[in-house]
Subunit: 345 residues, 4 copies
């Protein structure tokens, strides 16, 4: 068993990491920190984990976490992550950072959307943690920047198509909707059941922080600058993201061309499911699993390609992908601990 | 009190009509038919209506319904509606048809998307029942075709903008999501709680029957043929439609120009709410009310206009609008019986 | 129109009061206070009310609220209510208090379960606001203590049966479940969608503050001290309380005897619905309405009477009942503004 | 890998069995039958299972199913199960029957509540499949009758207490609530999202078929006939049962005595969690897991013991328990394939 640690265990990505590690055949959680629950038993806070771990929450001490583990997951907010990463790396542990702090290669872009960067020297070293595109770099990395949830849903769908030139890099629109766990586990009025249940609404319509991250990777795939129109919505449910993406086909490429392109890219991938003609993604079918479901339909009237991508924002969109990255960084089978299927219903 | 009747009282639009009429100060329900519940007391089937009506379901007999009423609502499926309408009109009652049978002005378009038309002679007479655009014609009509739910959400948002030339008629995309009551009250596997709850999914992505209806009215507003890319999704909730519409601004029109245009069109409208800058529609805020909420945001990176429209699919999207039409046809105040506000939460 | 005011407009009972008053034919809201939203427009905070009121939230100033109104609703937490009531009464306005501050006739009982009482001189004057039992006193009252939500569901079911001696006052068990709005609109972790959705759990199992209130009124009805075993549960929904009550029949009283007793007590009541044999209460059928549904079944094996009572915790369980009380206190028809039926679905 | 088969793969217990077997380290599904989906690929019907199995639904042929497998799960309705069991046993395969057909030891009781029994000769042989009480008999059994979902929640809570004489066998009341998946996956009106969502209601209040099954096992535990008052309710959620049970303490037994008794009974059990004082069961904490959570509180006023028991009706309440039984019958570790923890949230 390989010892790993989590900095930030009181949020939904933290508890999802704990759930996955508790069921992982080769990882053992040796420490988990939380300022909110410091000193309390993990299982007293998260009853679902009872008996699966035998730990109490520790303070946020990067060196202590690193000392007990070969790899640390950072499940703290941005800024806290870049403050902790250097010390953990210096102590000899690898890092998978679930925050945004090391996702943007361009420091200026990061600082425009987030805050001044306190560890810019690590930006060049950090590897973007989408294993389907950066597998070999991840295997060799000390520091992996785990992608955003919306971002993963859009990139898995579009990157192969842009690389292959099947869709235009102009005019891309991603209309996405997420379950509320993507907004975290903070005691905020707008996350109350009474505000979310039986409701559907857009938010951050003037610019969501995931936009530059998507544009960075889409531009790399397209070989030119891509501007994406992105609109997130909040769903009355806990888990799941569905992105409906509108793209112009290039050279008359049709549904089958898109499916074939995905098949070439993902035929050997364990977590990307290209759905057969006639089937469409449903968030419930990937809930709690590390999967992405993809499908495409060509609008018969406008010719626009409608591209659909579904995942669980906490699993493939966050903690599951983080474990996938950790598996690669630690030389384990990539699917270890990640084979659960979604419940029906 | 003016006597009215309902053909088709066992579905969700039928029971919504009954609820609205039970609370209407000037309408009295004299008969409601249902093949499924024929002979049963309305209140034994729909407990929420107990004490509000004192009726039993009758067979589907157009002449009998017409005989007891000055206006009949047709809340039966398409085909059944056009089979019944001529007899009801002949008996001297007015008709508000909630089905699709008289919405499409072009018989060939109707027959392509639906079925052979059995009452084509009425197509020219039927008035499209969107009071915000056809108020005067509705007042004078014998037969009103009540619009589709998705359709209302899109048309209220776009028609004034196309008429004013503020947005391009090319490349319009409507990404919509609906609560499950829009799919009716049939005992179908895909409408079970276990299939809908905690799930989000697209459907009818190759062409939904509401598309030609939208294109008909959008083309009239634009003065040229409009092709719309439309994608419906199913939400894990009972009621509510939110449409997120992507449009190209013409001549640099910005958010304020859109809001001003809506304000000119809807400033005196009782049921259309143009939200102030910074506010966005939420389906919960219009649930059970006859309102439409509108908002707009210009994407700062792509320049695309994002237009948001929310309504309750059973109220302004169906039965509330039907009562609004009936009020106009019967010379009543347009808002009579339609002033309820949404519950919070 | 009679001017009324609300102290405490930021919680769910406050906004429910505003919704009901906005649709009330004879009440006009002249002021609503909120420390959280002081100075903000009501409609900017609660979008569902847009256009229905034209007010901004004021500070909590009892005299100012009383000055503008003939009656004030106190929708603030306990302690704040008893601090404000004397000044409002002194200024000449009547008071309907939705908190617990004036519900318990015995000051010692109040102080055991809540806090020291700051206005004990008003306890004798306050009338318990269950119109079905105290209608005449309410009409004459200056100060009405609006009952608790669970309490109303239990008392409406049991009081007539205890008065008539049909059930034993010994061994009563009330197993109740409530939608989450009953816990208020505070930004608390345990009220998040992620904690409530797809979950069901008991709480306050060692003694809920509604217990002494129930026992006070049940004891009065029984003419002897009643001890109730009460267990509340939290439902994954917004609104609705269902109480399932277990009672021993006295003298072989059967289902029909219970129904007959209720019928005698409630035959003329506008808001209590005694369901026919074979029908059972459903919270959805009373959602947003001011109704209580009652039913009974005698367990064929144990002989125990199962008594069912459903209401909306925010309407008949709080703000609807408060308006019902205000109607009586102001000489208006008791049902004014309270005739809405529940939505289906 | 040990080959197993499922008769009846189109319902929720069938698909839950497939999910669990797909993740089981030592079981391989060789055949699954369905009349509804005969000939279709499993993964085309249940998208969540894609890639986990590679099977198409076969007709209901007991001999064929038995021929391919060492054990068959019967996930068909009662009557169909007893029709199939003899042929499967005769073909040499063991049987875990998830229906009610072999749960009641007394044929007359079965026939009173269900239907004439077609295989009464197997009733004496069938072992009641609650491993916590019948582990050794299950290991040796050819035919195991998997308990009902409500039943498991009640028996796990009460059997040790009755055996130890800590509670009275008189006056037991079980007030239970279940997610809607317990009602199956039939296309029925009362299971629609629109009927279940934001609703809570009792049902089968005059006698639910699980009652005699509970009384059979409770009577055995008590050593005398037990009559149980049982009331099921339908929750607006997919999965989960919570039973709140009211019992009279015997000889002044308190909370700690109950907890100690459970600890003695379940200290070594992998799937029964006795919660520490201060914690209460939540269905979400056991969702998708094979666990039961137990807690107790003594009402400080009435002295009544409130006993709480939570499980997932499809896992420990049906298919998870069936796999647990199969593990025992096949000589596998009892927890094989059953170690998943519930998602948070």
């Amino acid at each position: 068993m390989i010892p790993v640690a989590i900095m930030g265990g009181s949020g939904y990505t933290g508890v999802e990491l704990m759930r996955l590690i508790a069921g992982h055949p080769q990882l053992q959680l040796t420490a988990v920190s939380s300022s909110q629950y410091e000193g309390q038993a993990v299982e007293a806070v998260f009853g679902a984990l009872e008996g699966g771990l035998n730990l109490s929450f520790t303070p946020h001490d990067p060196a202590a976490l690193a000392g007990s583990a070969r790899l640390a997951f950072l499940a703290v907010p941005h800024k806290a992550a870049m403050a902790a990463a250097p010390a953990i790396l210096a102590a000899g542990a690898k890092v998978v950072d679930l925050s945004a702090d090391f996702r943007l290669r361009d420091r200026a872009v990061y600082e425009k959307w987030y805050a001044p960067h306190s560890a810019p020297e690590l930006l060049a070293e950090a590897v973007y943690g989408l294993p389907e595109f950066y597998r070999e770099q991840i295997k060799a990395a000390r520091l992996v920047a785990n992608p955003g949830c919306y971002v993963t849903s859009v990139l898995v769908a579009l990157v192969p198509l842009l690389r292959a030139g099947l869709i235009s890099p102009q005019g891309l629109i991603a209309d996405s909707a997420s379950g509320v766990s993507g907004a975290g586990r903070g005691a905020k009025l707008n996350l109350l059941h009474g505000e979310v249940h039986e409701n559907f609404r857009p938010y951050s319509v003037d610019g969501h922080r995931h936009t530059p991250e998507m544009e960075q990777e889409l531009s790399l795939a397209a070989g030119q600058e891509v501007r994406l129109t992105f609109t997130p919505h909040l769903l009355p449910m806990d888990r799941g993201i569905l992105s409906t993406i509108y793209a112009q086909a290039v050279g008359g490429s049709d549904e089958q061309a898109v499916r074939d392109c995905w098949q070439r890219a993902y035929g050997a991938e364990p977590f990307v499911r290209v759905l057969a003609k006639g089937r469409l993604p449903e968030t419930k079918q990937v809930r709690g699993s590390n999967r992405v479901q993809l499908a495409v339909a060509r609008d018969p009237r406008s010719g626009v390609l409608k591209i659909f991508s579904a995942l669980d924002n906490l699993t493939k969109g966050a903690s599951g992908q983080a474990v996938q990255n950790a598996n690669l960084m630690l030389g384990l089978p990539e699917t270890a601990g990640l084979t659960e299927l979604a419940l029906t219903p």
